[in-house]
């Protein structure tokens, strides 16, 4: 960060008030890129919950839905159950590796273009310019005494901010319930309290972070800039002021009078004026720089006006800076991007994605889990045979009701029945009607003759009567009394 003059005295204050940042509007390639990214990210955020996806009568038709109440996660044709949460973990790992990849290649591009804090601050600043005017008008209004006009402008600005902030929270909750229903419930006061609380919290944080905290979030609150600092190297792209070309700075008039004594920088301060975090990029790489590249646009515009080549401030790696300083030509950008480090990150990122796609394709949508009931381990029945109890869970992960057959295999003389059934009618086979997208939990009684090993392993298997061979099996143990001596009993 640049150093405020009032701190240089021996009695500097313990606390520093936020210095107002009034970034000037600018146009250029990177500004348009940021508009585009803002439009795309906001559109994704606001539209996604309203996309519909037909899953039949037994599942919600919202394309992306995090159904916490029923513990299901829907994403287009993929449905994730709680026990498949590792897919979410995989996505998070991919997001992490993706940030490594982006950071090592193009530095803090996430911060400058895609981070919600940046996108919403950008949006809020646009509103600010629309109501208060550009940089100079804003500073004038800030120092102006409170009067009807200032009050009207402040109230107008804060109202629009609040409106945006409210819809930010309002869109968030749509991911967690059926959006059209939730909108109706929300306005009729019938939505869950957590919905109102979430909207309230997100409205407050958006309003405060986007309207008032802005670069303070990036500089003081967010851990990511510090982590990124450790992940960049001399081949990462940075927004760089090419001081070897710009210095010594001097006014246009002075430079024209004595071109040999001055560099290209005419000290017009445009790079500082447009900076959303209020830094001076000419002081070198710093934690306050989110690499939004607006200073590049500002400087390019000035260079065009004074007839100098663009790129006095430009994306540049530390390596290239050394090369250019020595008078050489920098590497092409593609060569900077494709290097072992980025390729390794990309390789890891892609292989996690492919592995997840592969397992998603392989996963079975019928799952069986058998748990022996351990208390008691076995029960002796009046005819002398032994009964073991098991808790059977059949997960029907398809959104249609299915009838599944359950077989007891590999245990001579065994029969299986449920508490609703009768042992007299029991065979080695039983079937259940399992509701769509549901777990069917039932207790199984398995009886077998007392003669046999103390622990006999056998198989309980299930197969759906849907003709698609989907099924599952589980190896379980049948317990008998130990060391039974016929004469003792």
């Amino acid at each position: 960060m640049s150093s405020p003059e009032h701190l240089t005295g021996p009695n500097q204050p313990l606390y520093e008030a936020r210095k107002g940042v009034y970034p000037k509007a600018v146009d250029g390639f990177f500004r348009r890129l940021k508009w585009g990214i803002m439009a795309v990210t906001l559109a994704i955020y606001y539209i996604t919950p309203w996309l519909r996806w037909d899953r039949g009568p037994y599942a919600p038709d919202q394309a992306v839905l995090i159904d916490l109440a029923n513990r299901r996660f829907y994403m287009f044709q993929i449905e994730i159950w709680p026990h498949e949460f590792y897919y979410v973990v995989g996505l998070l790992v991919m997001a992490g590796i993706g940030l490594f990849l982006v950071t090592s290649a193009v530095g803090r591009a996430w911060c400058g273009y895609a981070c919600p804090q940046t996108v919403w601050t950008d949006l809020f600043q646009h509103v600010e310019r629309y109501i208060d005017g550009d940089r100079n008008a804003q500073t004038r209004l800030e120092t102006a005494p409170w009067g009807p006009q200032k009050i009207a402008k402040r109230l107008g600005k804060w109202s629009v901010w609040l409106f945006i902030a409210f819809w930010t929270g309002g869109a968030w909750i749509m991911y967690f319930a059926d959006a059209p229903t939730l909108v109706r419930d929300f306005w009729s006061g019938e939505a869950a309290p957590v919905a109102y609380a979430t909207v309230g919290i997100l409205t407050a944080t958006t309003f405060i972070f986007g309207g008032f905290m802005r670069e303070q979030v990036c500089i003081y609150m967010c851990p990511w800039p510090r982590i990124q600092t450790a992940m960049m190297d001399e081949k990462s792209l940075l927004v760089t002021y090419k001081e070897w070309r710009g210095e010594k700075r001097g006014s246009l008039k002075a430079a024209q009078a004595d071109p040999a004594a001055f560099g290209d920088c005419i000290d017009c301060n445009q790079c500082v004026a447009v900076c959303p975090t209020g830094i001076d990029i000419r002081e070198g790489p710093q934690i306050g720089c989110i690499t939004c590249a607006l200073c590049i646009d500002a400087c390019d515009n000035v260079m065009a006006q004074i007839g100098k080549p663009r790129g006095l401030i430009d994306y540049c790696t530390l390596d290239d800076a050394e090369v250019e300083k020595a008078g050489g030509t920098s590497h092409p950008v593609l060569k900077t991007l494709f290097r072992p480090r980025t390729l390794i990150y990309f390789g890891i990122w892609v292989s996690i994605g492919l592995a997840m796609l592969f397992t998603l394709g392989q996963r079975t949508r019928l799952d069986l889990a058998v748990q022996p009931d351990r208390n008691p381990v076995y029960v002796r029945l009046s005819d002398g045979s032994i009964r073991n109890n098991y808790t059977l869970k059949i997960r029907n992960m398809e959104t249609r009701p299915r009838i599944v057959d359950v077989y007891v295999e590999g245990l001579p003389g065994a029969v299986v029945w449920t508490p609703a059934g009768k042992r007299e009618f029991a065979t080695q086979h039983i079937h259940f009607a399992v509701a769509p997208d549901a777990v069917h939990k039932v207790q199984l009684f398995v009886a077998a003759p007392a003669e046999g090993p103390e622990h006999s392993e056998f198989t309980i298997s299930t197969i759906a009567r849907t003709g698609d061979e989907s099924g599952d099996s589980d190896a379980v143990v049948f317990e008998r009394p130990e060391n039974e001596e016929e004469e003792e009993e």
Partner: protein, 310 residues
């Protein structure tokens, strides 16, 4: 060290004055909003102290103006839970025990409620898995002294076994045969009884025992030894022995007789809890269908689980 404070050239910030091996620390000012959050937490704490129990006094902490306590919140939650369960409880109170197994949802609710009540009132004798032990019946099996259908289990639970203060109680009495039969005769009878379930092979001794059995035991245990539930007389031909089927245990049983007891629960538990316990015990695997006169519940075609008949 404070005299070593200086202004750091590149940042323009004052140092704190420490220095280790040339490494110094900048005294960067905190952002002011940070201090506001600090004051905010203090305001929050003050409000908390006023509203909630906070300051420890001699006997208890200050009450707080909201008069909140974790115990009070727990009571509220218990009451809310009782209100939530009221429909189930009243339905259970209304339904006759013979019909409970026919109402699948209510039956399941009763089983779950009974599972909890069993862990409080019954595990002391019957064990946490209801598997019993010598002298305490295993409730998982299909052998019942007094009957294993819902009404019979419910009656046993309500009235107990051998409760002298209660006329309705289950009461069985086997004579102690020590002194009535000689040791040799008792030896013969036990051999015969063991032969009924194949624990011993038939022998001349067991043939002697058979005659003694029909004279002394058959009136309660039946001519075939299969017991009589009206008297609580156990089936001697099956594989289950409450007090042990080995020679020594059986000899003790015939010599001294056994008088197991069970509390009656009608003076300790409410009728709904007793019904729930009956349903739970009935669900453990040995539950029998209601006796013939009672209407058998019509199987629900929409029932989720069903057995396949061979």
């Amino acid at each position: 060290m404070t005299e070593n404070k200086r202004i750091d050239e590149p940042t323009g910030t004052q140092t704190v004055g420490h220095e280790w091996d040339g490494i110094e620390e900048l005294d960067t000012p905190m952002p002011r909003w940070w201090v506001f959050t600090f004051w905010g937490t203090i305001v929050w704490a003050l409000a908390y102290i006023v509203l909630y129990p906070a300051i420890p006094m001699v006997n208890s902490a200050t009450q707080g103006v909201w008069n909140w306590s974790s115990r009070g919140q727990f009571e509220q939650e218990l009451q809310a839970e009782a209100v939530r369960r009221a429909p189930i409880t009243s339905a259970l109170a209304a339904i006759p025990v013979e019909q409970l197994a026919g109402d699948e949802r209510l039956y399941q609710a009763a089983v779950e409620g009974g599972r909890a009540a069993f862990k409080v009132h019954c595990v002391q004798c019957h064990g946490s898995g209801a598997a019993g032990s010598a002298g305490y019946p295993n409730l998982n099996d299909d052998d019942w002294l007094w009957g294993g259908d819902m009404p019979a289990i419910h009656y046993t639970l309500t009235n107990g076994i051998r409760q002298p203060d209660h006329d309705e109680t289950r009461f069985s009495q086997m004579p102690a045969f020590a002194g009535v039969l000689s040791n040799g005769e008792i030896d013969a009878v036990t051999s015969y009884v063991r032969s009924l379930s194949g624990l011993e092979k038939a022998s001349p001794k067991s043939a002697t025992g058979a005659a003694l059995f029909s004279n002394n035991c058959a009136s309660c245990h039946g001519v075939d030894g299969k017991g009589l539930r009206e008297f609580g007389a156990p089936n001697l031909t099956d594989g289950i022995w409450l007090y042990g089927g080995d020679k020594a245990s059986l000899t003790t049983t015939v010599n001294n007789a056994r008088y197991g007891v069970m509390p009656r629960w009608n003076n300790r538990l409410d009728p709904v809890t007793i019904k729930m316990l009956a349903a739970y015990v009935h669900s453990l695997g040995g539950g029998e269908a209601n006796p013939a006169p009672a209407a058998t519940p019509v199987p629900d075609p929409a029932k989720v689980a069903s057995n396949v008949k061979p």
